[in-house]
């Protein structure tokens, strides 16, 4: 069952040339079919009360304790849906944008999806690492082949940043495996086995850092974020969507699935630093977004800001904040993807993304402008839209750990208002600048944008399904630190009560 989730896109990718030969849009349809199939596979799944809804385990390299161990729980289920949904969106928005090497494009897209699905399912650390690296290669190709002018630079930067950081994670993974051998006599890369480890604090600290760096680069965390604006800006729209909506989530997912449960004490001790970095990211990302002229770059920096919230939420280490973080992953997936799509559509029509050359779009493209407005509002965290629930929960959770940082983080909301409204004001409002007329949303575009808008509103007003879905997995994440942790949270320097408030 789980293997099919992986195999479907891979098979479709392999069949791409055949589809291309069948008819002109064959590869596009095949991609849609494959992703639809995945959705169908996901649809009937549900919890049976255990830790994993589905689990499969097969030997791979038994002499190294490496197995093909996949597992699905609420968290992965949610992210798989996100992946599939945004995958479909990516195919749809590339319908007209990608005209060259269409089959290869979709091949890469699907392979990337497969890699990401693997990341969300893998429970063997070796396997996880394999998928972690694999999802990047097609993504690099997407940027490098179909990107904009500076694509080679962006692709290289992206590649080196992510690969180099993941090597650190590899070291940490191996460290864990050998620690397991030292304690039990057998080497194992299985998450279940490694969870039982008792690590010395120093070792745990360094290994945790290895994981953290890899995930933080992907997240991205300031100051390791600098690959992101370039990659997002230069990628084709579908690439930006995949990057922003899904790929960044793998970092947060990794933290939740591996970093926190495997190193509860070390993570708890590290939390103040991580939270500080998260807050830094929120503000710094907002500040940079505010300064940009290039719309796509602006949106890219908003990602930095939003993912800063995720980092803050994750390391707040309480249920509310974790749920908020997951919610933010989802909301950011939708809102930022939507903004990238809008920018892509504008670029398709006007061949510029420079805010100085845009303006008054509302007059020309009222529908598209309306969508832009809505997505910008989601980005600034307007209540009623999904981002708000997420950000509020994160702040509420983080506040219980540390009030000064949370107060500073809350300033990010002002920053969000600044850049979002600047985007609206400079592109939508003002005198209508581009002279040439262009068609408003086509039906396909309407469908995509409408679906995303609906998702944002729906999850803004009814986030409960998401919160329910991830409640159990997150509680398990949380159990670990509470069960093992000897660190007295309230005595940390960030504590609210400690300040005699």
């Amino acid at each position: 069952m789980l293997i099919w989730l992986l195999l479907v896109p891979v098979l479709a990718a392999v069949l791409m040339p055949v589809a291309e030969g069948w008819r002109r849009d064959g590869s596009r349809w095949l991609s849609l079919v494959a992703l639809g199939l995945q959705a169908l596979l996901l649809l009937p799944l549900g919890s049976d009360g255990g830790t994993w809804w589905l689990e499969s385990r097969t030997d791979w390299l038994p002499l190294l304790g490496i197995g093909w161990h996949l597992g699905l729980d609420g968290l992965s289920y949610l992210l798989l849906w996100l992946t599939v949904a945004l995958g479909i969106v990516s195919v749809l928005i590339s319908w007209r944008e990608i005209r060259q090497r269409v089959a290869f494009f979709h091949c890469n897209l699907l392979l990337s999806v497969a890699g990401i699905v693997g990341v969300f399912l893998a429970l063997d650390l070796f396997l996880f690492f394999v998928f972690w690296e694999l999802m990047l290669i097609p993504m690099v190709l997407l940027i490098a082949i179909w990107g904009h002018d500076n694509r080679h630079y962006a692709a290289t930067k992206f590649f080196i940043f992510t690969q180099a950081s993941s090597l650190l994670m590899l070291i940490a993974i191996l460290g864990l495996a050998f620690a397991h051998r030292a304690q039990t006599g057998v080497i194992s890369f299985d998450r279940d086995d490694l969870l039982q480890l008792q690590l010395s604090p120093v070792l745990a600290h360094w290994l945790m850092l290895g994981f953290f760096v890899a995930f933080a680069v992907k997240l991205p965390m300031v100051p390791l974020h600098t690959w992101l604006p370039d990659a997002h800006t230069e990628a084709p729209t579908a690439g930006s969507v995949m990057l922003a909506a899904i790929l960044l989530k793998t970092g947060a997912y990794g933290l939740l699935r591996f970093s926190l449960p495997l190193f509860p004490e070390a993570s708890a001790a590290f939390a103040p630093v991580a939270m500080t970095l998260g807050v830094l990211g929120i503000l710094y990302g907002a500040k940079l977004a505010f300064a940009q002229h290039d719309m796509k770059r602006l949106v890219a920096y908003t990602s930095v800001s939003h993912m800063g919230f995720v980092l803050l939420g994750i390391y707040a280490l309480n249920g509310m904040a974790l749920q908020g973080a997951v919610m933010q992953m989802l909301a950011h997936g939708f809102s930022t993807a939507a903004l990238f799509i809008v920018v892509g559509m504008l670029y398709e029509r006007w061949h510029t993304r420079d805010l100085r050359q845009l303006g008054g779009l509302w007059t020309r493209l009222p529908r598209l402008s309306g969508f832009t407005m809505l997505f910008a509002l989601a980005s600034l965290g307007l209540p009623g839209l999904a981002n708000f629930v997420a950000e509020f929960l994160i702040l509420a959770g983080a506040f219980q750990r540390t009030w000064p940082l949370t107060a500073v983080a809350a300033l990010g909301l002002v920053g969000a208002a600044l850049y979002s409204l600047l985007l609206v004001q400079r592109s939508l409002w003002g005198a209508a600048k581009p002279a040439a007329g262009a068609p408003d949303c086509s039906r396909r575009e309407w469908l995509v944008l409408g679906a995303l808008a609906l998702a944002l509103v729906w999850f803004g007003l009814h986030p409960q399904p998401v919160l329910e879905l991830v409640r159990e997995p997150l509680l398990r994440v949380l159990d670990a630190p509470l069960a093992h942790s000897g660190v007295e949270l309230s005595s940390s320097w960030l504590s609210l009560r400690g300040r005699g408030l």
Binding site: N318, G319, F392, L395, L413, L421, W429
Partner: protein, 605 residues
């Protein structure tokens, strides 16, 4: 009970969505039907609700219609709460809102964004209703930000003019600063009580927080939110600029309803504020300062709507002053009367502006009494109420504020400011009326005889005059603040009574001396400072906006990218240097071996 209450905000909300989605397909009549009809229905429902509430002896209704979300440690629902305060607010919002909607049909006809306008306006009404009906802080916050959004959209309604966009953004961002404070306040409540139900948390606060710092912080943060939304010091700067929106918007949002949300918030959380007397003092001081400073600014403005905007700030300052002084019901009372007469003034001003082809500078006005008698009448009534002349609604509310405040706290600085402010209010009211309707006619107006616009005005005139008679079921809402020790002497009564007249007399005296107030003040430094709103804009510009934008400009390329670039440069340089060593010379290569041998031996040594 109460599930049907949800329909009060839902009706305008649905209408708004309809208009947003289908607005382009509807003609003006259709759009107006949706826009006005939904509000009318909401008003009707509200009326029913209020009547039922009064009939049921004023017990508060609370109910949770639906769950919003329940996270680990926090449960939030779309819960509604209806008590006397809500009743007053709902009444004002739907009542005044309905009148303004009616007025707008005529005012906005012909604008190509007609449907959009009503969509936004309906959305605003919905959000405002959510704000006041909310039984949960987070729902209140939703409305709170929602009205901010609508304010933003409506200020920037005529989006083609860049200044409007700027004003809209400024309004949103400045109020967002307050919102953040409010949000932080809510976070404390979450942390402490694990709930955001308003009544629960306020109740728990009173139970648990007798001797603690918490009320101080929570109240302070709530005040921050209130100050932002209600344009009080120090976040008042956005409101004068917000006048860029269409005049009915100014009337509804920036005079009658939204800007009083702060007052509502403080009144709603009275329980917490009472635990924090320091903050209450601060509220009073903020109110007093704001009302006086804004009144002075109103005195010297040249733009009709800006005068009214500063006047609004000033009047809300009275409300804050009252809240701070413990005169909660007086504040709410003034909130209501102010909604009536300020809406009247704005709408009448709108009529004037429309007649003068969107002329707003009062220096180009004058002598409009004859061509526009109806507007003049409206203005006269509105100004009278604003100046708190006897037997107008404003008179009662302002009297109540000043006297109750005196009774509670005696004559502090704030009280004296409030008293002086009453005089200044009268003065600028007189100036406004005189500049508009007396003297020479500078611009020929088109007649103001559009009846659809007159009906609402007429009704508002009545309300401005007799609105004080509307009873307010507030007795159960507010904990009665222990009456002050101060005996309110007859001298105080007299002073309060006479102050507006004093202002009027001063004005008349100046008028009779033939000296225009403008000329009197025009050149003075004081006037210039007043006209620019006491220089707050310049201050913020220099302290915040400029540094921020400078920072943004300087760091557009992301300084943190430099180390990465440096590493790349370093690699390239190393590569070039090393490549140069690879020069193809055999003997150099041998030398390389020898160097290597030296190195290895040295390491081994």
């Amino acid at each position: 009970m109460g599930a049907w209450l949800a329909w009060i905000p839902l009706l305008p909300l649905l209408s708004s969505l309809t208009l947003l989605l289908l607005g382009r397909r509807l003609d003006e009549r259709g759009a107006a039907l949706f826009g006005v009809g939904s509000v009318a229905l909401a008003a009707l429902l509200s009326l029913v609700a209020i009547l039922l509430f009064v009939v049921s002896d004023g017990t508060a209704w609370g109910g949770q219609a639906l769950s919003w979300f329940s996270a680990l440690g926090l449960e939030v629902g779309f819960s509604l709460y209806f008590d006397g305060l809500t009743a007053v607010m709902v009444g004002v919002i739907t009542g005044v809102g309905l009148l303004i909607h009616l007025y707008s049909v005529a005012y906005m006809s012909g604008d190509d964004g007609f449907a959009r306008f009503f969509a936004y306006l309906n959305l605003f009404v919905a959000m405002m209703l959510i704000l006041v009906l909310a039984g949960d802080f987070l729902l209140l916050y939703l409305g709170w930000e929602g009205v901010g959004l609508c304010s933003f959209l409506l200020i920037g309604f005529w989006y083609r003019v860049p200044e409007n966009g700027y004003a809209a953004r400024k309004a949103f961002v400045v109020t967002r600063v307050g919102d953040v404070a409010l949000a932080l306040g809510l976070l404390i409540l979450v942390q402490q009580f694990g709930t955001l139900l308003i009544q629960d948390s306020v109740g728990q606060a009173q139970l648990l927080w007798a001797d603690s710092d918490w009320p101080f912080w929570v109240a302070l943060l709530l005040l921050g939110g209130a100050v932002g939304k209600s344009a009080q010091l120090p976040l008042q700067t956005w409101l004068p600029d917000a006048m860029a929106g269409p005049t009915p918007v100014s009337a509804l949002i920036h005079a009658a309803t939204m800007v009083t949300a702060g007052v509502y918030l403080i009144a709603r959380t009275q329980g917490i504020f009472l635990l924090a007397p320091d903050v209450l003092q601060l509220v009073q001081l903020v109110g007093g300062l704001t009302l006086f400073l804004a009144a002075c600014s109103a005195l010297v403005q040249q733009d009709l709507k800006r005068i009214l905007a500063y006047s609004t700030i000033s009047q809300i300052g009275y409300m804050f002053f009252a809240l701070g002084a413990g005169a909660f019901s007086a504040a709410v009372f003034h909130l209501m009367t102010h909604a009536f007469f300020k809406a009247l003034l704005f709408l009448a001003a709108g009529q004037v502006i429309l007649s003068l082809h969107h002329e707003q500078d009062i220096r180009r006005m004058g002598g409009l009494l004859r061509p526009m008698p109806f507007s003049a009448l409206c203005f006269a009534i509105g100004c009278a109420a604003l100046a708190a002349l006897p037997f107008t609604s404003g008179f009662y509310s302002k009297d109540a504020i000043l006297l109750q405040a005196y009774a509670h706290g005696g004559a502090g600085i704030a009280w004296w400011l409030a008293l002086a402010g009453a005089g200044v209010t009268a003065l600028y009211s007189l100036r406004l009326f005189v500049r508009l309707f007396l003297g020479e006619c500078h611009t020929a107006p088109t007649p103001d005889n559009r009846w659809p616009m007159r009906w609402p005005l007429a009704l508002l005139c009545l309300l401005a005059l007799f609105g004080a008679l509307i009873p307010q079921p507030l007795s159960d809402v507010f904990v009665s603040v222990p009456a002050g020790e101060q005996h309110v002497s007859w001298a105080v009564h007299l002073a309060v009574l006479l102050m507006p007249w004093l202002g009027l007399a001063l004005g008349l005296w100046l008028l009779l001396r033939g000296e225009d107030l403008r000329r009197r003040f025009a050149g003075g430094i004081l006037a210039r400072v007043w006209r620019t709103g006491w220089g707050f804009d310049a201050l913020y510009n220099a302290l915040l906006v400029q540094p921020l934008s400078l920072l943004a400009r300087l760091n557009r390329r992301d300084l943190l990218d430099l180390p990465v670039g440096f590493l790349a440069w370093l690699s390239r340089t190393c590569h070039q240097g090393l490549s140069r060593l690879q020069n193809g010379r055999l003997r150099q290569y041998v030398a390389g071996i020898v160097w290597g041998a030296l190195l290895v031996l040295a390491v081994v040594l």
